[in-house]
């Protein structure tokens, strides 16, 4: 019997929402031809908590608690975006020391978040050891977060005009010690995966996306930088004190899973550089600027973007006077990165879809808000 008379049918298979490799509750429906993915339809919204609607009913102060819970791996960075937006609306200038504390915490948070990515990507590839190494480093950073803000995840630490409490005694010394350990740890992690033959063959050339497509879909952060676009909000629109700091923007050019991984690994080292500069420069002084006791911004609107570990995090804040924000819109980087998943997964194998999803480093709490 001739093979061309055999009829094949595309099959539709469902992944998620409770799939261990979807990094949360995320579901995608794959149309496959054998093992090859023809099309992918992502379904999100399983973690939708109505952040934007809830914020309309919270005062400016308490909106912040929801932001910690959107991207729960990078709480400090989320708070940064909202606080900058609020300070712009209020016309408040944060104290110098607070700016430095914020940047230190954001960059430490970026390392912790990328460590989580590193561990999860390794686990997706079937390597469970890197996960434990990543968590060892992450634990050190979590200790710092806990010492400063009192919490390990839902920090709620930044305030309009400053931060909640000052750095504890001996923080700078301790932070340097942790950074040295983490620096060593990153090198160790690097040794485990970066040149690993199995890992390379699982990631190189998988889930590639062109720079034009990535820009078209609104991708940001490491996804965009892995395509060769040198875009970083910290450089292109410097906020806070980033214009005073010296750091590089790592860029890779093929846009595949491996490059996204490499970009993130390098970003961690750059973050350490930033924190070290901040520790050198941090001035003494008050940790709170001059702020009105009750926060009631003038009517107006502002759109602020900051560089989250996952990309370009935007807050669109509208005030019409009064105690409550009129509208808070969150432009979540994962939300836009995830849109490009369909483009990335074309012609991948099913087994690789897990790796590609892992390389996006999505946090569903932020996608669904």
């Amino acid at each position: 019997m001739a093979l061309d008379r055999l009829q094949t049918v595309d099959m539709t298979i469902n992944m998620g929402p409770q799939h261990p490799s979807t990094h949360g509750v995320f579901r995608m429906v794959l149309r496959v031809d054998g093992e090859r993915i023809l099309d992918c339809e992502p379904y999100i919204g399983y973690l939708h908590r109505g952040f934007e609607k809830l914020s309309e009913n919270e005062n400016y102060h308490t909106v912040l608690i929801h932001l910690d819970r959107t991207d729960y791996l990078a709480g400090f960075c989320n708070e940064m975006a909202y606080i900058i937006a609020l300070e712009k609306l209020l016309g408040v200038v944060p104290s110098e020391r607070a700016e430095y504390i914020r940047v230190i915490m954001c960059e430490l948070n970026r390392i912790a978040s990328h460590m989580m990515f590193y561990g999860a990507l390794g686990a997706d590839a079937g390597a469970l050891t890197p996960f434990l190494y990543a968590f060892r480093e992450r634990e050190r950073l979590q200790g710092l977060f806990e010492a400063v803000s009192g919490a390990r995840m839902m920090f709620f630490y930044f305030r309009a005009g400053g931060v909640r409490i000052d750095l504890p005694d001996g923080f700078i010394r301790e932070c340097r010690r942790v950074l040295d350990a983490v620096k060593f740890g990153i090198d160790e992690c690097d040794k485990l995966l970066t040149n690993n033959e199995v890992f390379i063959s699982r990631t190189k050339g998988i889930g590639a996306i062109s720079a034009a497509a990535a820009i078209d879909y609104g991708c940001s952060g490491p996804i965009l930088r892995a395509c060769g676009v040198k875009e970083d909000v910290r450089r292109s629109e410097p906020y806070s004190i980033y214009d005073r700091l010296d750091f590089d923007i790592p860029v890779a050019y093929s846009g595949d899973t491996y490059d996204r991984y490499v970009v993130r690994m390098e970003e961690m080292r750059q973050s350490i550089r930033i924190v070290e500069q901040c520790l050198d420069q941090i001035p003494d002084g008050p940790f709170m600027g001059k702020v009105p006791r009750f926060i009631r911004p003038e009517p107006g609107e502002v759109y602020v973007r900051t560089e989250n570990p996952r990309g370009d995090y935007g807050i669109y804040l509208i005030s019409r006077g009064g105690d409550y924000p009129y509208r808070v819109k969150l432009r979540s980087p994962c939300f836009c990165n995830l849109m490009a998943l369909r483009e990335m997964l074309k012609d991948c194998y099913i087994a690789d879809s897990v790796m590609v999803l892992g390389s996006l480093d999505i946090v569903l709490g932020e996608v669904d808000r």
Binding site: N59, G143, E146, A147, V148, F156, R159, P168, G170, F294
Partner: protein, 155 residues
């Protein structure tokens, strides 16, 4: 062969390392310097009444609606022993809802509330509620140093 010896050295070393596990209810790790537990009410020992006048600003600002406060006329004001015209009548903190966010402390106009180190609040009711005596005791414990801790060096 060399690798084997190296591996055995690591095994030997970790054999004699002190375990990092802490048997929690019996012993506990020191709390972080920035740690906040639940809020407590500060007690004014001079006048023998809490500082709180029940103005409800904390209840209004509480993001999780965990606080319920009422106000009453202060009997001690009529006697002339206290300067507070009004005093808190009931102050209920729903421990199950409290997220230890410190907002109530920040908005308080009378500095009558403070964050304590108390965080163990398991109970047998879905809504564990602390009243005024419990909240005052939390604050008193904190002030008397029962729960106070030295600043912790992080790892």
């Amino acid at each position: 062969m060399l690798g084997l010896i190296k591996g055995m050295i690591i095994t030997w070393k970790s054999n004699w390392r002190k375990p990092v596990t802490v048997q929690y209810p019996d012993e506990s790790l020191p709390l972080a310097p920035g740690y906040f537990g639940f809020p407590g009410l500060i007690y004014d020992h001079e006048v023998d009444e809490p500082f709180c006048v029940g103005c409800q600003v904390c209840a209004r600002y509480c993001p999780t609606d965990a606080i319920f406060v009422t106000m009453k006329d202060n009997p001690k004001f009529k006697e002339g022993t206290s300067k507070r015209r009004k005093i808190v009548d009931s102050f209920e903190l729903n421990i199950s809802r409290c997220i230890s966010c410190n907002i109530c402390v920040e908005v308080c106009n009378f500095d009558a509330i403070e964050m304590t180190d108390t965080f163990e609040a398991a109970g047998y009711h879905p809504d564990v509620v602390a009243g005024i005596p419990a909240l005052i005791e939390m604050s008193e414990k904190q002030r008397k140093g029962v729960l106070a801790r030295p600043l912790k060096e992080t790892r």
